[in-house]
């Protein structure tokens, strides 16, 4: 068990800078998820920690030791790959014990460790099967078992659930969380799926174009995103971004969304937004914060009427889509209160949760 630290780490492939001087501190036993779209540098970062990619500049430290020049086998890490990377000619037992054999562990120690890991992962009956005879989920468990038996300082997961179907992915997600609770080890997990990131992580690292956009707990990222990218990436369905203008009428500050709709700004935010009055800004509001009007509405002017373009019933809730200021906006309402497509519906914007974004810098104001 150990902490992992990245110091101004850069990775270039020829002229292309895949990772641009990132700094990251992962304390002992923490579960950190690197999340971001394809090509954001998250897998490259993980591979540099594993020693599968050389660092162009900067330092990677594991347990306080700089490991830039150490080969993967000497870094005391274990990795679970997207396509499992199980040795097809070996049984599950042999796959899990291969690393221990190479490290000259005794047969009894190997058996003990493999059986212990198999019990944790509930794969004891599968140990004499080859990967071909295992389902996707079982293969992933064996791959995790191969990592667990090594008892490494750091676990690395490279999109381990991407090859599984949706139902199994949810099951395995819970399984990974359960295993981490049992086998407390520093874990770095890469995924492009923000739901996976939110559900698994102690802290999430959102990456974009080779840089770290924000590091924080799932709740921090959801409620207090620092950039438009993070605000749009975290949360499903994604946050609505509506071009608007900030207006000041005496002591009241309002966000003008269209000729007929303007939303109030909370007084405690007025100071923060002051320098943007009269300027175009982007309103960020999650679908779950656009709902049917509250029963005990305070009449603060945050209700508005729109004509619905599309209505998507999901059972426990209904998604409503409408156009505001030329932008498609999504709201989340009670199924019983949803109007039909083409009809006018009264909606309420929960302005406590709104974000205003500077369109020039993309930063949340």
């Amino acid at each position: 068990m150990a902490e992992v630290a990245l110091r101004q780490v850069v990775k270039k492939f020829g002229d292309v800078e895949a990772v641009r001087s990132i700094d990251l501190d992962i304390p002992d036993n923490e579960f950190v998820v690197l999340v971001g779209p394809s090509g954001c540098g998250k897998s490259t970062t993980l591979r540099m920690i594993a020693g599968l990619e050389e660092v162009t500049s900067g330092d990677i430290c594991i347990g306080g030791e700089v490991v830039n020049d150490l080969p993967p086998k000497d870094r005391d890490i274990a990795m679970v790959f997207q396509n499992y990377a199980l040795y097809p000619h070996m049984t599950a037992f042999e796959n899990m014990s291969f690393g221990l054999k190479l490290r000259k562990f005794s047969k009894s120690e190997i058996r003990q460790r493999v059986e212990h890991a198999a019990r944790i992962l509930d794969i004891t009956e599968l140990l004499d099967r080859r990967p071909k005879a295992l389902s996707g989920g079982q293969r992933q468990r064996v791959a995790m078992g191969r990592a667990i038996v090594r008892n490494p300082k750091v676990f690395l997961f490279d999109e381990p659930l991407s090859n599984l179907d949706a139902k199994l992915r949810v099951q395995m997600r819970t399984e990974i969380k359960r295993v981490h609770q049992k086998v407390k080890t520093t874990t770095v997990y890469v995924t492009h799926d923000q739901v996976e990131a939110m559900t698994l992580a102690d802290r999430v690292v959102v990456m974009n174009k080779g840089i770290i956009e924000q590091i924080g707990t799932p709740q921090e990222l959801y409620h207090r995103p620092r950039t438009r990218f993070v605000a749009g990436f975290i949360g499903s369905p994604a946050m609505n971004f509506i071009p608007c203008q900030l207006e000041q009428n005496g002591a009241n500050m309002r966000v003008r969304v269209s000729d007929s709709i303007s939303l109030p700004v909370q007084p405690q935010r007025a100071n923060r937004y002051q320098s943007f009055v009269g300027k175009p800004v982007t309103l960020g509001l999650r679908p779950e914060h656009i709902t049917e009007p509250r029963q005990n509405g305070q009449g603060d002017g945050s209700d508005f009427a729109v004509t619905l373009d599309v209505v998507e019933p999901l059972g426990m809730e209904t998604m409503v889509f409408f156009t505001l200021n030329g932008t498609e906006v999504c709201g989340r309402v009670e199924p019983s209160s949803a109007a039909d497509a083409g009809a006018t519906m009264q909606l309420h914007a929960n302005v406590d949760h709104m974000h205003l974004i500077d369109p020039a810098s993309g930063a949340v104001i």
Binding site: A50, G51, N83, L86, Y87, F98
Partner: protein, 299 residues
Amino acid sequence: MTSVALSVPKAAGAPRQASLKRNRRWALITSYIFLVIFAIFFLMPPYYMIVTSLKSDAEVAHMATNPWIIANGITLDQFKILFTQTDFLIFFKNTAIVTVAVVVITMVVSVLAAFSLGRMRFWGSSILATGIFLTYLVPDTLLFIPLFQIVKAIGLLNSYWGMVLVYPTLTVPFCTWIMIGYFQSIPKELDEAALIDGAGHMQMLLRIFIPVALPGIIAATIFAFTVSWAAFVYPMAFLYSADQQVLTVGTVTSLIRADVYKWGMLMAGALVAAAPPLVIYAFLMDYYIAGLTSGATKG
């Protein structure tokens, strides 16, 4: 409503299904016709060999009898004489030694070469890989002239050990080419997993790549075996004593004297010479096909 709605696609589907069945039947009939024609065409020579090898010299020479049937009874005389009164068994032994040695050398060289060219990316590796394949395109009828000088210079002219030296020029390039393709089709995560598990490059090759690439290795082995078992030009050019000769050239030179063809023994010799490759193909055919077609489709 429901029954009406369901009956519509059923009625529309029936003639289509019948048409599909008819199409399939015709495709099968046509396939079988051509398969039978092909089978007859390719089985004719082996059948003729077997029939002739089981006839006596007198019956073979008798022009009036039907060459496709054995009229005067089966005899194993051709085989007895071949094994006892000719150098056939020496040729067989020499061929076996040369072939085993060539197969071993070829597989060691091409597996190592293919592993480094296919997996360990280094500057110029793809050009080198193409270059290796290009050397295979140079025909042995052209190569034997400079090779003659080389074999002579190292004192292996008229020695079957010379064949062990020159046959790999035919087998190594193609086997390396097959193995490069095979090694490249193995996901890169497998060697990364092995690296993290603590394997060095040699352990990775021996414990992961060779077992995983076994179908490809068997395909390459069969190819090397067939080429060295059936090679004709090089032994024809480099070997001239009977005690050093191999099957292909030895059988022909010892059983054809001027215009005298010992057809019965020639056929018996050809039959015995064809047996080892036949047996190997029969047992390893599935691996051979899997090896040659790997990577053609998504596994």
